[in-house]
């Protein structure tokens, strides 16, 4: 029997509306007791949390782990270490691996490889075989193998008839279709947002309409089929309005935004000086948008239209970014800067601390109905819940230094930026997986 006491911290558990100085006792990987000034038993490991917020471990609905197939970018183990450092104790792994996670056998393999890593890994299955967009995968078999959602992320399910059948078939499978909302017929290979900066830089632009087109189509299809649509990484104001409107009409639509779409605009591609940067670390899909879009993402998150911050952690090797902008890979390594970005919004008064933590914990859990079976209590700190916790500083200021990250992907346009908020320690299933506290 392993036991641990986390004491002296400010417990913030949005699921149970708790915000108080309470201690947490863990026994065998589950929360055993919560109370004021609990006393440690003999031999119990004590974690001091004075001055820190104690929150449920974060749940990321959108992580790219690159294994199998691209282990030079990230492995399941390195991605899980990065998650732990970022305060995440559960991450959902996107299926755009090589081969794609389009069969029960491959999902099983990923789960095997994830068994002893530093956080819980929940796989997402592919919608179409090989993510090619032509034939449906065995969606029920994927669910039974452990897939918590299906997605062809990286690409939309562009074929409308396939998307229609996927929603219909999923209506009684009980897992969402997590859509990468980008209409390729409109995006046409655009490498950044279609706007003032792309016009200046001579880069092909991806119009906001490419996102809205798929959001609207999928709302229509999900409504007709009675299935759940989950919109990944929304980035534009019109899409967010469409989701709010659909929700108000009772359609089962959920949505996420990424940390980078909450803090950066398309200007990051050009930089602020005379020298045009063509910063490939700011190349991401969906692209960084306008200031109005950033504000709309923050507003939608605060209002609960968007229930989850998801990282879209997309690690790449240096060589994938040290090249021409057109040739560079899309994606931002995001697990280890997520808390700083979200808490900076708390610091600037855009979100309450409870809202910020909610969108990283119980918000995503409810969005995908993950609170079931072994995972009962996930995203909360209630007695019986998994002992997944993160200890957070809400006022420590730090510079983003990817060289010191656990992720193999150092690709972030936030490098050198100053953020407010640090993940001090993370406990995953009762085990300390990250401890950056000053002793």
């Amino acid at each position: 029997m392993t036991t641990m006491l986390i004491r002296g911290g400010r417990l913030v558990d949005p699921a149970s509306s708790v915000d108080a100085h309470l201690d947490v006792m863990i026994v065998d990987g589950r929360v055993a007791q919560i109370g004021a000034q609990l006393l440690p038993a003999d031999g119990m490991e004590v974690v001091e949390a004075n001055g820190l917020v104690v929150a449920p471990g974060f749940v990321d609905l959108h992580t790219h782990l690159r294994e199998p197939g691209q282990e030079h970018k990230e492995t399941i183990a390195s991605g899980a270490r990065a998650a732990a450092r970022g305060g995440f104790t559960t991450i959902c792994a996107m299926p755009n691996t090589e081969p794609a996670m389009d069969s029960a056998a491959i999902i099983d393999g990923v789960l095997q490889r994830a068994r002893d890593v530093d956080c819980r890994v929940l796989p997402i299955g592919a919608v179409s075989k090989g993510r090619k967009g032509h034939e449906l995968t065995e969606l029920a078999a994927l669910r039974d193998a452990g897939a918590v959602a299906v997605s062809d992320d990286g690409d939309a399910v562009a074929d409308t008839s396939l998307a229609r059948r996927a929603f219909e078939y999923l209506s009684d499978i009980g897992i969402p279709l997590a859509e990468h909302c980008e209409d390729p017929a409109i995006a046409q290979g655009g490498v950044m947002h279609d706007g003032a900066v792309s016009a200046r830089l001579g880069l092909r632009g991806q119009p906001a309409a490419a996102e809205l087109s798929i959001v609207q189509r999928d709302i229509t299809l999900a409504e007709a089929a009675g299935a759940q649509l989950h919109c990944c990484h929304l980035s534009t104001e019109p899409s967010l309005l469409a989701v709010a409107d659909a929700r108000a009409r009772g359609i089962h639509v959920t949505a996420e935004v990424t940390p980078h779409h909450l803090c950066l605009t398309h200007e990051a591609v050009a930089g602020s000086g005379d020298d045009l940067l063509y910063d490939t670390n700011a190349k991401v899909n969906p692209p960084l948008r306008t200031e109005a879009d950033v504000q709309a993402c923050i507003d939608a998150l605060a209002a609960g239209v968007v229930e989850a911050v998801a990282t879209d952690h997309a690690p790449h090797a240096a060589i994938d970014k040290q090249c021409e902008f057109d040739a560079a890979s899309f994606g931002i390594s995001a697990l280890e800067s997520a808390w700083g970005v979200v808490n900076s919004l708390v610091d600037s008064g855009r979100l309450t601390l409870s809202e910020a933590i909610e969108r990283l914990t119980i918000g995503p859990v409810r969005a995908w109905n993950l609170d079931r079976g072994d995972l009962t209590g996930l995203g909360t700190l209630q007695v019986g819940a998994p002992a997944d916790l993160t200890l957070l500083s809400t006022d420590a200021v730090s510079r983003v230094e990817p060289a010191s990250w656990a992720s193999m992907g150092k690709n972030t346009p936030l490098a050198g930026h100053t953020l407010v908020g640090v993940v001090a320690a993370t406990i995953s299933q009762g085990r300390i997986v990250w401890d950056g506290r000053e002793h």
Partner: protein
Amino acid sequence: MVAEQATETAMPPTATDATERVAQPSRAPFDEPVTDWRQRHLLDVDTLSKDEILRVLSTASAMAEVLDRSVARTPALRGVTIFNLFYEASTRTRSSFELAGKILGADVINVSGSGSSVEKGESLVETLNTLSAVGADAVVMRHHASGAPWLASRTIDGHVINAGDGQHAHPTQALLDAYILLQEFGDLTGRKVVIVGDILHSRVARSNLWSLTTLGAEVTLVAPRPLLPAALAPGATEREHPLSLPSVQIESDLDRAIVGADAVMALRIQNERLKGKLLPSSAEFARRYQLTAERIAKASPDAIVMHPGPMNEGVEIAVDVAHGAQSRIEAQVSAGLAVRMAVLFLLIRGGA
């Protein structure tokens, strides 16, 4: 000193000036160090001040005198190694850069995308490191990816000259266009310049926007909506964005825009863009946007016609207009050589 004289004039010569100057004996004009040039690279014209643009153009007119000599050679860049790194096909830009370097006495080495390590999958950064390692003093670069010369400027030690990057910039084309326009009009303040055609995909249009507005011209861009960047379309948000292209007139009707124009510049349009996917047809494009004699007649009587080449005669420009009295298209090609000599000279002999 001819070069200094030219600086004082601060303007390329009008036809009369040029005649006067050619009459003067030219003593080795490029031996003195250049002390008033501070740009290390020429990536685009957006970072050049009006004075800097005029400095290039006055140097170019001095270079034009060298070209008028019976033996057009000067050793101003002797001992200098210039690499022409061309990832895209080019006739006039590449040959004029090559000739410019050779006339100035430099060693010029051509590297193209085919027949080099590029074909074996070598990355751009590796190729640039290689050129740096063998001692390239300057790299003249044409690349299909917008921004590639900026990457080069951060990678190599030598000077980088952008000879056209993707759909982004073509600074020496803009400078030679300015040279022709100043030769014609002396001063561009208030002069009306119309640029018509495929603005969206045109690096020539983008660079010209910067130099022409810097020189005081009133620029109008004319294009059907699919050939216009979204940010320039009517009703676009962010028109006042700090990173925006210069604010100019946007017009979809050439017949209206061309009235009273002092110069009309047609842009090349690729045939594959006229096959019904982007625009209905070549004939439909010609009906609305071709430079015809009838349309040129609506411009100012002294208006000149320009085109960066290569032309699709009968598509964006009528044959008789391309070769008519108002056309400066051949003069543009000749000016390209002098301007590129000036650019190489100023960057390499300048202080940066």
